[in-house]
Amino acid sequence: MTIDLKTVKHISKLARISTDEKKANKLANDLNSIFKFIEALNELDTEKVEPLTSVADTKLRLREDKFEANNIRDKILKNSPDENKDYFVVPKVVE
């Protein structure tokens, strides 16, 4: 199978990455060579194989619902790309 320009634009949209025509063409080429390489997996019969999601053979642990990080609010807000010191600010969402 081949990945065409339309597909590249569709997955770029899904991934929230803007892509212009020229870049989309190059990406389509790259992705096709990568997927050609990936398609080797189809040689294997995996009908009866259980998928492996994690090699760590552990159940998720429960812990007490308490917080440990103290007074880092200001430090966190300082990393915000907007200058505002009290909130995270984003472009207008509701018209």
Partner: protein, 484 residues
């Protein structure tokens, strides 16, 4: 002492404990040499003035019982360091200052180590040559215009150039072992779940592991002992009984069975690599261990599996970089436009390529054909290892299919770049420990490494094998300080 920076970690510790050297003297030496080595581009952010202050404080009241007393160490810029910029080699995190510390680095500071700085790496650890970093290429100290490997390329280069006595990297598909092999150093990827992932910028969560990089095996054992511990803050951290890796280190490997996987004789493998492997086999025999031919039939499917699993996890992990709470933001006409511009300008080409692969294989209609298929093949790869470990204690392979290549040589062809990790990727998919040790040089004089793969949680055995082999190989890096 004139050559402080050439001392190994264990030698430095001995000198500090004997009061022959102070932490300040040592820290100063590494800073001076680092200042003269800017051409290598190993540091993204230095922490030199704070390091000197910390060294002074240590010297005023030295605690010699600590495992890393007053030792300055630079780390890969993928570990969050409280109050010190952490970029992951990306423009999107260019100005990010973490308000918390990664567990692995905290464990080092708790044992007396001092942060020297943050080392360059491929963007979000995606690369095998350090060429995808927003902060530029890193030069390999073994020769001009050679890549240092990746993604822990700043780490391997800084270590080989004696800018830090040891370092830590992260390894998702080979990112510790391949750069170690390219720079004539030692790199160990621990069993998945050994070292906490808390505070490490995430790439592919089911594969990522932190691990030590060092001049020799003994140093790696000591650093592993410091950073390998159970951590409640990482839900995949495993509570198993860890060895005292450094004090239990022995060169007695008599009677161990070492497997040689037939499938690692890949098509087009240079004869030098084949010869190096044969040399390794002879050394193992010399050490009194037994060589066993084994088969890992699904080996050739490991890379294609990896290039579905890792991008899928990455596309999900990297969804958090949206320009809202931290990191780079590009202004847009509306919210969606802001997201799309931020991510398009903030991420480099390789990262975007992998996010798109991941988005595609997880998207509706393709999930079963790609992602589920890859998870099933991953099961088969793991079973291959489970089977052979009924008969052998460890496995010996080459670390990489070539020595260090030229900067720019493989950047236009993603698949040829990916092939670098052909011998290291299966180890991550199966969650096993693996170590690369320098084992020889090729006809260009560049270092080549051998990899020892162990059973889960059996880091001690691969360290012991590496230690025994190291003694007999007696590898010396030929570094001329050409960049000064």
């Amino acid at each position: 002492m004139s050559d402080i920076t050439k001392l190994s970690l264990n030698e430095l510790i001995q000198n500090i404990r004997n009061k022959k050297l102070s932490s300040t003297e040592i820290t100063n030496s590494f800073i001076e040499r680092s200042e003269k080595s800017k051409k290598l581009n190993t540091y993204v952010t230095d922490n030199f003035s704070s390091a000197l202050e910390a060294a002074k404080i240590f010297d005023e009241k030295p605690n010699m019982d600590l495992k890393l007393p007053g030792i300055p160490i630079a780390v890969k810029d993928l570990f969050c360091t409280n109050g010190v910029r952490t970029t992951a080699g990306s423009n999107i995190l260019n100005n990010f200052i973490p308000p918390y510390e990664s567990t692995v680095t905290q464990s080092m500071w708790d044992e007396g180590a001092i942060l020297l700085g943050k080392l360059n790496c491929d963007e979000f650890a995606m690369g095998s040559s350090n060429e995808t970093s927003f902060f530029g290429n890193v030069q390999n100290p073994i020769g001009e215009n050679l890549v240092p490997g990746g993604s822990s390329g700043g780490s391997s280069a800084a270590l080989a150039a004696n800018l830090t006595p040891v370092t830590i990297g992260t390894d998702t598909g080979g990112s510790i072992r391949q750069p170690a092999s390219f720079t004539g150093t030692v790199g160990l990827k621990p069993t998945y779940g050994s070292c906490s992932r808390y505070g490490i910028v995430a790439f592919a969560s089911s594969l990522d592991q932190a691990g030590p990089m060092s001049q020799n095996v003994k140093d790696a054992a000591l650093l592993l002992e410091v950073i390998s511990k159970f951590d409640n803050k990482d839900s995949t951290s495993i509570d198993f009984k860890r060895n005292k890796y450094s004090s239990e280190l022995t060169n007695n490997i008599k009677g161990l069975k070492i497997g040689i996987p037939n499938e690692y004789r890949v098509e087009g493998m240079p004869k030098e690599i084949e010869d190096l492997w044969k040399k390794g086999i002879e050394i193992i025999k010399d050490c009194g261990a037994e060589i066993v031919d084994i088969s890992l039939p699904t080996t050739k499917y490991a890379l294609p599996t990896y290039y579905i699993v890792a991008p899928a996890e990455a596309s999900s992990n990297l969804a958090r970089y949206d320009g809202v709470k931290y990191g780079f933001r590009s202004e847009g006409e509306n919210l969606i436009d802001m997201y799309e511009k931020t991510r398009s300008e903030g991420f480099g080409e390789e990262v975007k390529r992998r996010i798109l692969i991941g988005t595609y294989v997880l998207s509706s209609g393709y999930y079963d054909a790609y992602y589920l298929k890859a998870q099933k093949v991953r099961q088969l790869i793991k079973k291959d290892f489970d089977n052979v470990y009924n008969n052998v204690d460890a496995i010996l392979t080459p670390s990489t299919p070539s020595s260090a290549f030229k900067i720019g040589e493989k950047t236009d062809d993603p698949v040829s770049m990916y092939l670098n990790d052909i011998f290291t990727v299966p180890v991550n998919l199966a969650g096993l420990p693996g170590i690369s040790i320098p084992a020889g040089i090729d006809n260009k004089g560049f270092p080549l490494g051998l990899q020892i793969i162990g059973k889960p949680f059996d880091e001690q055995t691969i360290l012991n094998i590496a230690y025994s082999m190291e003694e007999k190989i007696n590898f010396k890096n030929n570094i001329t300080d050409w960049w000064m």
